[in-house]
């Protein structure tokens, strides 16, 4: 399978004001398919924005290669790359109308007025802003500006659209609506999207694949399900969603399941495949993976947070150790101070080799 974008061993080092060196990109390898929605996810300073800017051409690589559809990108200035960007601040041209903003790429490419106007109308229609062309960006709401930025960046039919945290300035409801719209738009356009965010929920909702980054390198690449259910390490596990980590020692292996204990004596059941008694591993369980029932880890509810459909509980195990976070779907009757038992399906436990 050939990829649209291929990045090999990309490196970029910045010199900090204190005179030190900071590896913003530390040997990045990434392939993006022609119709794929890829999210670069990571905390601020992980290099995700630098990687995006390297693709758009606003940042140069110290070494490494980057090809788009087989053609080398690294030597091209930004305005010659068949790639467009939706900027975090939108960067709309304040002195132009919405229509001229949207048609800018065509205007500078020398497309005739009639054809330009038709394409602008079509692009505005696509983002739900039909008839708004005569307005100025300053007369629009945040959500509308976002749509103008989107229309402007897709009008030249790029093969790859880069989105730099475009939803971060919107309120929650609008953000969720835009997440779904972006996904729909990406399917309709049939082009690749690379989306940068630090919001794991956003990444899980929209992506075909998620690239989790930390301090200049890639921690894990995978589908949202892979990343969520089978994180490769502690960092990914803790960064994506709420999680409970149990450093445990394997006690005995019993057919399909293995019994393990934390240092405090909390008992866990894990899949037995590959486990040996005495081995130290980390067991990962999501809050929704616990069942409140008659059996399981005994503990006391220390805090109960009402979330509408769910009840979010903090449970202190009787044996000791850190609190366990649990989501209960039918959470009636579990008040603070209640004694509970936390049961779990051994198959839901994800095991990290390192303790």
């Amino acid at each position: 399978m050939t990829h649209l974008l291929e990045i090999r061993n990309a490196r970029r080092t910045f010199i900090t004001p204190e005179g030190g060196h900071l590896a913003a990109l530390d040997g990045i390898n990434l392939d993006v398919g022609a119709n794929e929605f890829v999210t670069l996810l990571g905390p601020s300073g992980c290099g995700k924005t630098t990687l995006l800017r390297a693709i758009s051409g606003f940042e140069t690589l110290d070494s490494g290669t980057m090809t788009l559809g087989g053609a080398d990108l690294t030597a091209l200035p930004p305005f010659r790359r068949p790639v467009n960007t939706v900027f975090q601040s939108y960067a709309l041209f304040g002195h132009m109308t919405v229509a001229r903003n949207v048609g800018y790429a065509l205007e500078v490419a020398g497309v005739g007025k009639a054809s330009r106007e038709a394409q602008v109308a079509e692009a505005l229609e696509k983002v739900g802003l039909a008839g708004m062309g005569a307005r100025r960006p300053s007369q629009l709401s945040g959500g509308q500006r976002q749509r103008v930025a989107l229309a402007r960046s897709i009008i030249a039919k790029p093969r790859l659209l880069l989105l730099d945290e475009p939803l971060s300035a919107l309120d929650r409801n609008l953000r969720q609506q835009m997440q779904l719209e972006l996904k729909t738009l990406q399917h309709a356009l049939g082009i690749a999207f690379i989306f940068v965010t630090h919001d794991q929920e956003e990444a899980l909702t929209m992506s075909d694949r998620i690239v989790v980054m930390r301090s200049g390198h890639i921690e894990q690449i995978g589908t949202p399900r892979e990343i969520y259910r089978h994180p490769k390490n502690r960092f990914v596990a803790e960064f994506i969603g709420e999680t409970n980590l149990f450093p445990v020692t394997i006690d005995r292996v019993d057919g399909e399941t293995a019994l393990a204990r934390t240092a405090e004596g909390v008992e866990m059941h894990l899949p037995s495949a590959g486990r040996k008694p005495g081995e130290q591993v980390t067991a990962i369980l999501r809050p929704a993976d616990f069942n409140l029932g008659p059996t399981g880890i005994p503990g006391t509810v220390t805090r109960a947070v009402y979330l509408g459909s769910d009840l979010y509980l903090f449970v202190q195990p009787q044996a000791g150790g850190p609190e366990i976070r649990v989501i209960s779907r039918d959470g009636a009757g579990f008040d603070e101070g209640a004694a509970v038992h936390l049961a779990h399906d051994p198959a839901r436990v994800h095991v990290l080799e390192a303790a």
Binding site: F79, V83, T85, A91, F93, H95, Y104, A105, V108
Partner: protein, 294 residues
């Protein structure tokens, strides 16, 4: 009640400035306007009789004294306007790239540069112009250096030429052009430049379509602030300009101080004011059109 009290307070606050401008600006202006239509007194001052030949001397209707009309005053006015326009153009070319450079400096170096730009204001204009005189004169610094490195074989005749006048005016006006330009350039949204490049515009297109329109208010502001004092400037041509460097400001000065023809000097002043006001109105309406929605 509250509204009324507010307007009373506002009125009280505005009274001093209104009085000051009324007495020291509006009243003298009215006097000049009236004087421009009176006949000159024999030993200076004015005679209180209506006289339209002050304007006749400028625009060329029969003057009654001199039979042959020569448009010498219009020529001087035109020269002043051209010198002022040239000053605007040159200061703009000098300051625009520098404004970009300074806006990219670190906070500390920017402060240093700002201090340097305002440094000339700490000393007298006359003193600084005499320094230019020392630099430009035939045996001055410039010629000495150029002769000694062999760039020229005989001293350049710069002093007392129009070149010296424009050079001096550019020197005086650079800070006035730089400050509004810098503030416009500094407010420029860099992301918009990147957006333009990203959308396929090359650097020239980006400059013409994004950078220039966005900094236009600063350019217009700087141009007006430089143009107006340049038209009426008489100190620079007085010190650095010869007979060919005479500007309308010198002419007005002469009418009041040497020729003792106050009405004619007043008429010339009214003409300068009319021209400057026209320029202001045009640039204001342009600015409204360009930046009305910003």
């Amino acid at each position: 009640m509250a509204m009324r009290r507010q307007s009373v307070v506002l009125g009280m606050l505005l009274t001093p400035v209104t009085l000051f401008l009324g007495v020291f600006f509006l009243l003298p202006l009215c006097i000049i306007a009236v004087f421009s239509f009176l006949s000159p007194g024999l030993y200076g001052g004015v005679e209180w009789s209506f006289y339209h030949w002050n304007y006749g001397r400028i625009f060329g209707w029969a003057d009654g004294i001199i039979e042959i009309y020569e448009p010498i005053y219009l020529q001087i006015l035109f020269r002043s306007l051209s010198f002022a326009a040239l000053t605007v153009g040159l200061t703009l070319i000098l300051c625009y790239p520098v404004a970009f450079w300074v806006s990219r400096l670190s906070e500390r170096w920017r402060l240093v540069f700002m201090f340097l730009i305002t440094l000339p204001f700490f000393s007298s204009l006359i003193v600084r112009l005499y320094a230019w005189l020392l630099i430009l004169k035939p045996s001055g610094l410039l010629n000495t250096v150029l002769l000694s490195i062999g760039a020229i074989s005989e001293p350049l005749e710069i002093l007392y030429t129009p070149t010296a006048v424009v050079l001096g005016m550019v020197y005086v006006m650079v800070p006035f052009m730089f400050l509004p330009l810098y503030s416009a350039v500094d407010n420029l949204d860099r992301a918009q430049i990147e957006a333009s490049l990203d959308l396929g515009a090359n650097r020239l297109q980006t400059f013409l379509k994004v950078v220039l329109p966005q900094t236009l208010p600063g350019i217009m502001g700087g141009a007006v602030i430089v143009f107006i004092p340049s038209v009426g400037n008489f100190v620079v041509p007085d010190v650095l300009g010869g007979a060919k460097g005479l500007m309308i400001g010198n002419l007005v000065e002469q009418q009041f101080l040497s020729s003792r023809n106050w009405p004619f000097g007043s008429a010339l002043s009214m003409i300068i004011m009319a021209v400057v006001l026209t320029v202001l109105l045009i640039s204001a309406s342009r600015a409204r059109k360009a930046g009305g929605h910003a």
